[in-house]
Symmetry: C2
Subunit: 265 residues, 2 copies
């Protein structure tokens, strides 16, 4: 039986760069599919069109509501097929209307070589059993049946309506069904923690305007640990900066999104 | 007489979302136009097509060499015209070949309201006269006739072939002809400092794969101060995280690019 994430990001060729996908309800936040999951679905199609194996950088702009439990079409336009890099633009459509536009550049991480100089270390935190299981908090979040997420205790409050006073979040995460992490899944994990700003106040919906992920290394099997911080919340606009590390202590992804806190209705 | 930056980012309508521009030699790094300048040229066309006044987030993927002192065409596709947000995709072409693909979402910063919570402060540095004038260092950089850039003394070495040992750079910057900064110009300033990695080693060319900028506030007149840092140089791939602050101490832009150090030929 395939893993849930593989089944729910599978794409079927329609020809001429078009692919069909089924947007699962299993990765919903409330009634809306998680934005990282949608980016992974679109990347799944892009990866089938480009000659290089690994995403290096992807940016998604979220244009409109995506319905889950419904089909979608992904149209991929290849912009470059170079020796070391290839680039594509992708559109995700439902009912003929575009809901997401993406740009992605691929390469081959195994073929990379040259200087290395890292000045950062994984965020310190207790082991997973010393963290707080994220059950989805106030909302019924479908995706918490699909992931096993443990929030670092000092930032766990926001998810259950008890803001801790600083716009940060983080902890451990892995798929509930044992699927090992890979590059594609990092697009999902980069958007799978509660919004940082829930640790400031009981805000309502915080939709993503744009999400960019840099894929820096293939993750080793096991738990991922992640940390997200917002330094600048200005008149409802907020960036969320994330880093994801693998079980061997290597950085595997950097993410940044621009989001907007909507007034509570 | 118009300011240099306005003259060199001007676009002329060709109809059907297409615009023509003249890529100036004045913003060259060596013989190549600065990537932030090219993003500003493309944004100049995008801004003419979208109903909202202010860029909020833009991502450019650099696909191929752009020739300066030559015309270019920018083709803008509007993806969304919403109440508070609008989004476009743009392609920059020369001789019919695409050289840059961009996604940008616009809004209205003056109409933003809601919660504000900022935990960061402008990077400390001596006043401009206590910093080191960046004359372009080893390379003859055309753009140093266009900007007045002063490097913070502890990170000034890399630009003149004397790496200081940590991958950071920053300082003060403004246009040489007195043009005040605005949002469009931040796309240029976000890429106008020497690469951070020149403070690690005497690397050669460090081309940008992808550049993303969040525009967070309209800059006040006067000097901008900026800081750029790379925490993860891994097998030649490196992110460069930037922040730009205005003369009143407000953050005006966050930038991140993914770049790749090429072997010295």
């Amino acid at each position: 039986m395939p893993f849930e994430f593989d089944r729910d990001t599978a794409v079927t060729p329609l020809g001429d760069g078009a692919w069909s996908a089924e947007i699962s309800t299993g990765w919903n936040i409330g009634t809306i599919p998680n934005g990282g999951y949608l980016t992974a679905v679109a990347l799944s199609a892009v990866g089938r069109e480009l000659p290089h194996p690994d995403p290096l950088t992807v940016t998604s702009h979220y244009l409109g509501r995506v319905n889950s439990g419904a089909p979608a079409t992904i149209e991929v336009e290849v912009l470059r097929r170079g020796r070391t890099l290839s680039t594509a633009c992708a559109r995700l459509l439902q009912d003929g209307r575009e809901r997401l536009r993406m740009l992605a550049t691929y390469g081959d991480l195994d073929a990379s070589e040259g200087p290395t100089f890292v000045t950062a270390a994984p965020p310190p935190m207790p082991p997973p059993d010393g963290c707080v299981r994220n059950e989805g908090g106030l909302a019924a979040l479908e995706l918490h049946h699909r992931v096993d997420a443990r929030l670092e205790p000092s930032v766990a409050g926001g998810a259950v309506g008890e803001p801790v006073g600083r716009p940060e979040t983080g902890g451990w995460i892995r798929f509930a069904d044992g699927r090992p992490p890979d590059l594609l899944s990092l697009a999902f994990f980069a958007d799978a923690f509660p919004p940082t700003v829930l640790n400031l106040d009981r805000f309502g919906w915080v939709p993503t305007i744009e999400l960019t992920i840099h894929f820096r290394a293939k993750p080793a099997p096991g738990w991922l640990r992640a940390w997200f911080i917002s330094r600048f919340l200005v008149e409802s606009h907020v960036e969320e900066d994330g880093e994801i590390w693998d079980s061997e202590g290597n950085l595997v992804a950097l993410s940044r999104q621009l989001a907007r806190i909507l007034p509570r209705s």
